[in-house]
């Protein structure tokens, strides 16, 4: 048993748990986008950040991967945490203006407009990679991957060529936090006309 504090509340966790797992067990809410119990965490969206403090020392980490340790002092809503979260939500509003889910999430945290330039008004994928991970780790089909690097990164069938690896299980659609995968499935499986995944 590991004992530590989240927002001043004493909590207990099993050795090997993450901060997020512990918080959820206690009903302490931390927003997440790229985390799902079914697959390994990847730490891509950074929305689940929390602050650790010890005297003068303080550090921001992601709760979905940070392992619990005795005596941690975790803060889920400190100024530093809020600053990161607000900026990420603003970024997401600009990156995925077409996602209702993102808009609602942002609004929950008081973010309703963005200072970032919107490049594609139809975009709804946040590149969290959940679809890719579920397809590889749970389904074992490896029909989707990320293609390209940096700002050019996209989700699609490998090499953006529709292939025959997809088994049409729909797992990716289920885990997708923004509903983006629904629109993309045909591009993975190879129906013409539909625009390829971005």
């Amino acid at each position: 048993m590991v004992e530590f504090e989240i927002d001043g509340q004493k909590v207990q966790a099993q050795e090997g748990w993450t901060v997020l797992e512990t918080a959820r067990k206690y009903g302490i809410h931390i927003p997440t986008l790229c985390y799902h119990e079914a697959v390994k965490p990847s730490g891509a969206c950074r929305l689940c950040v929390v602050e650790l403090r010890e005297g003068d020392w303080s550090k921001v980490v992601i709760s979905c991967m940070y392992p619990v340790a005795e005596g941690l002092k975790v803060f889920t809503d400190s100024e530093r945490v809020k600053n990161v979260r607000r900026w990420i939500l603003e970024m997401l509003l600009a990156e995925c203006p077409a996602s209702e889910e993102i808009r609602q999430l942002a609004a929950q945290y008081g973010v309703t407009s963005t200072r970032f330039a919107i490049h594609d008004p139809d975009q709804d994928c946040i590149l969290c990679g959940l679809c890719v991970r579920v397809c590889a780790e749970v389904v074992g089909a490896n029909a989707i991957s990320t293609v390209g690097r940096g700002v050019h990164k996209q989700i699609g069938a490998p090499y953006l060529e529709p292939g025959s690896d997809c088994v049409a299980c729909g797992s990716c659609v289920t885990v997708c936090p923004t509903g983006a995968m629904r629109r993309r499935l045909d591009a993975v499986r190879g129906k013409p006309k539909v625009e390829l995944a971005r």
Binding site: G43, R46, V84, I88, H152
Partner: protein
Amino acid sequence: MAKASNAARPEPQRLNSVEELATLRQELLDSKDPNQAEIVVCYGTGCLASGARQVEAALKKALKAADMDVKVRPLIKTTGCRGFCSQGPLVVIQPEGIFYQKVSPQDAEDIVQALAQDAGPVQRLLYRDPKTGETIPHEKDIPFYKLQERLVLRRIGSIDPTDIYDTIAAGGYQALAKALTSMEPEQVVAEVEKSGLRGRGGAGFPTGRKWRGALKAIEKKGRPVYVVCNGDEGDPGAFMDCMVMEGDPHAVLEGMILGAYALGAEQGYLYVRAEYPVAIEHLSIAIEQARSLGLLGENILGSGFSFDVRINRGAGAFVCGESTALFTSIEGKAGEPRPKYVRSVEEGLWGRPTVLNNVETWANVPLIIENGGDWYAGIGVPHSTGTKVFSLVGKVNNVGLVEVPMGVPLGHIVEEIGGGVPGGKPFKAVQTGGPSGGCIPYELKDTPVDFDSLKAAGSMMGSGGMIVMDERDCVVDVARYFLRFLEEESCGKCIPCRLGLTRMREILDDFSRGKGSQKDLEDLESLAQAIKDGALCALGGSAPNPLLATLRYFRDEYLAHIEGHKCPAGVCKDLITYRIDPDKCTGCTSCARMCPQGAISGEKKKPHAIDESACIRCGICLETCEFGAVEVF
């Protein structure tokens, strides 16, 4: 590099003991006449680019033609970078150490004749001290070299890096021999701990502590353990690691073999960026030669200890220099970082305990083992021991590679070793630590160059890039440059870096056009903090540093852009105007002839004028005018 040495070499024969290595070394030393002349041609990247290959060919030809006259036929040898790249091509005559600079093929005959006739050095090729105007014949007396302390670079410039015998004669593999005969593996770790060596790849993590951590992880998880060398060197303007790998590949290998011995590793990896073909070639040759002599591979020097290395070519992505991305890249997957809450010494390559160190870090290890950790700890300053190699570039007279003890004041490096800014004005700032670092302004030129002092000044050591800026460098432009670089290099995995860097760059783009407000500055600072806190890896996490450091020291210059709509350095094109001062203009017409737009008009010997509407602000007129009549404001 062509095999240039024409010395008779023994057939490679496996060395089965440390004694056999000692015998070989003695034979090599005995076979060499210390008075025999040697013509040493620098074959470093800089000198090759300025024509060293042609110089070498011409020297060979001249030697052949002069054969009759030359009493003792001198040898030609090619080496790695001597560091003084701005003076290349360089040729040094040994054993006296006569230093010839800016040598062209036409000079070959004179060089050979001077040697043949014992006529003293060729005067016109000697280095001239810009301060005193006097020629300095010997390399060791030139201020650029005299003020350095070359330990890591000690053999570079004197050995042929493609010839292992040359390295052995110069003391290579002596540290390995010592460790194998007189040190337990744990003692090697202890010695590195004692030395205080900190990683030269960026973060300055204590190397001994890292190795100790790996030993602890091995206790828990068992072996295999891997040792890995980070030769990805991606900072713009940095070329230290490249020169070490090219110029003394055995130093890196020997360091890795020692590390492997200390940790009980059987396999090592050298991750080298594919843009460094010569480094890869020299390392490959070195590995082959070390294997054939039994210094690498099975049963090294008959000790029972086995270790081998392989080279992995980096795909050229900057982020692949980050430890976890480097591991995934070696594993054959896309080079993307992962959070490091579990340390690499516990879970690194293939999920195994792994020690990753930088090229220069590894190259320091043989020095420490040979001379002892205490000796090493005595060099430099208490918390930053040893020396550091820097690539000195930018607005500085002596561009090149310099090695100094840690703790030397920044100004000393730039002004004494680097010879200051061309034109003699003080420098404006020095960017250290590349795109993750920051700038140190002239006022802080006494800042000791060590890990902690640079950090306290808002910059960092980084891998050792040093870019000197003068009054014609704009800090907004510099910050934009680094941000643009990182924006391109972001792997795109995490949101703050993938999207945030672009936004920061966009705000700076606006600044450079004179647009922006105090509010934008505040936004920029809060966004920078969010990226620092939120990004997954240190690429994103340190990306705001150049911006924050320039803001800290040059806030006025930022305000001049957004409030005064002026670029004081005269760089941001939208904010500057070129004008010719009629009082200074002599009407020489050179600027008018050079202007690509034909925007300058005027009669001969009468003051000229620039048509502002046609001017594209390229600055060519400013550089052309010999009378200082062109002004930017």
